[in-house]
């Protein structure tokens, strides 16, 4: 196929450069701070709220999410997060935790998924989405990432995610790899995980959702990637879009064996 001979490298990618971060936040300082807060991680509050939302009858169909299949069967929360993103036969898509929750909110509860996907972070049902993500991720706390990555769809999306990770463009020629493909690098004083392998991939992917002390907000992986792209000077990634899911799959597979500490607490 001649058209394939043209190099069609993936455009884009994930996480980039940045803003000036708190000067005091050395790795040691953050670790110390995190340890101090370990008993009072505010993400616990989001987790508890998410558990309530999971059980609560809501939406046009007045149903709970207790029959939501996150990949391990209807209603199974324990261990689901460390196997996501994965392929779902019912939607014929590879989905990450948040896009899968969105599917359940639509099919079980009757919410309009497209409308929620369009809602800005931190508003309306997106607030509930974040709490639900905190709850579901907590169901895998301390477990090791083990994405199945055994279907053609998943393997294809891994390769797509890799291309997206390395795709340079925009005003600054940034790709995710500009900041996250080498060991022991920093932006200002912020340590950057090498997301192409462990321990960076497991540590980086396995820490979201997380409560961010710097802005007092709970962030899911979709918002984490969104902010990476903002700093990368890329356009706005759509919530639950295939590019974000492919990236999540790439990071999650690279992080295989890494421990999930989500919902975590970050700088």
């Amino acid at each position: 196929m001649t058209q394939h001979r043209v190099l069609l490298a993936a455009l884009l990618t994930a996480c980039a450069t940045g803003t000036v971060w708190a000067q005091k936040s050395t790795a040691e300082g953050i670790a110390e701070y995190r340890a101090m807060l370990a008993d009072g991680n505010p993400s616990d509050l989001f987790e508890a709220k998410g558990e309530g939302l999971w059980q609560q009858k809501r939406g046009p169909k007045n149903a709970s999410l207790e029959q939501c299949d996150l990949g391990k069967g209807p209603g199974v929360v324990k261990g689901a997060f460390v196997e996501l993103p994965r392929y779902f036969a019912d939607t014929q898509r590879v989905q990450d935790m948040e896009s899968r929750l969105l599917t359940c909110m639509e099919t079980l509860q009757g919410f309009n998924a497209a409308e929620i996907a369009r809602t800005p972070f931190g508003r309306a049902e997106q607030v509930n989405m974040t709490a639900l993500a905190a709850y579901v991720s907590a169901g895998s706390r301390g477990m090791k990432f083990n994405l199945p990555n055994n279907t053609v769809q998943e393997k294809t999306m891994y390769e797509v995610g890799k291309r997206i990770f390395f795709a340079r463009s925009g005003t600054h020629d940034f790709s995710c790899a500009s900041c996250h493909a080498e060991d022991n690098k920093r932006i200002r004083l912020q340590d950057l995980p090498n997301l192409t392998k462990n321990p960076g991939a497991g540590n980086g992917f396995g820490a979201w959702p997380a409560y961010r002390v710097s802005n007092g907000q709970m962030w899911g992986m979709q918002l984490r990637l969104n902010d990476c792209y903002r700093q990368q000077r890329f356009p706005y990634p759509l919530f639950g879009s295939d590019a974000t899911i492919a990236l999540g799959l790439y990071l999650g597979v690279n992080g295989k064996g890494g421990e999930s500490i989500a919902p975590a607490i970050k700088r």
Partner: protein
């Protein structure tokens, strides 16, 4: 999202049916490009054109995906193409005010969808480089630039002896890919991140003997 699925379904179908042994790398490149296109939208001043790759970014990304250094001939062609569009200072002045240069080097603002396009962009320099030793919050993706001019023996940046270093410094900031095809460094002047006057100030920060960089 369903729209996305509809758009991509034929591509997936193609991949699954035409390639019993799995999709080729070129198939995957095509699929990735298609997925990228359908996964973003413009926001404020940041348009979808940001996703378009020029030859430099396309070739360097492909080498990164392959996990190999870029082919030497391709690298040379990229460097030549970038050198060809180099813009030298219109009035022949390379050295600006290092104090202004320091302010620009400190600023990481500009060109994101949350930045006010009416305000001046920053150079993002400290995000990746050590520069003035007094600034302890510096990144390490790029090399340290502390004593940049001093180490290169620049005592008078207007002298004939300093000319090659002065020009290289301007050129490297304006368009890093003219010297190193797949450098991580943005093409600061070429891509319109900083203006000619701003680049001049940053060159001053690095090369003016009075700049704290060269103390």
């Amino acid at each position: 999202m369903h729209h996305t699925l509809r758009v991509l379904a034929p591509l997936f179908f193609l991949l699954l049916t035409s390639c019993a042994s799995g999709p080729t790398s070129a198939d995957l490149d095509k699929l990735a490009a298609s997925i990228i296109k359908s996964s973003f939208r413009s926001e404020g001043p940041v348009g979808m054109d940001r996703l378009l790759q020029d030859d430099t970014n396309r070739e360097c990304s492909a080498a990164d995906v392959a996990g190999k250094p870029i082919d030497e001939k391709i690298a040379q062609a990229i460097e030549q193409a970038n050198m060809k569009v180099m813009v030298w200072p219109s009035d022949g002045r390379f050295i600006g005010d290092w104090r202004e240069g320091e302010r620009i080097a400190q600023s990481g603002r500009g060109l994101t969808w949350t930045d006010d396009a009416a305000q001046a962009n920053g150079g993002n320099c400290y995000n990746c480089h050590q520069i003035d030793k007094k600034e302890v919050s510096f990144g390490t993706i790029g090399p340290s630039l502390y004593n940049y001019g001093k180490l290169r023996g620049v005592t008078d940046p207007t002298s004939a002896a300093a000319k090659p270093i002065v020009e290289y410094t301007w050129g490297k900031i304006w368009n890093a890919k003219a010297y190193n095809a797949c450098s991580n460094m943005p093409r600061v002047g070429h891509s319109g991140i900083l203006t000619e006057a701003q680049v001049r100030h940053v060159v001053g920060l690095l090369l003016d003997p009075k700049s704290p960089v060269n103390e």
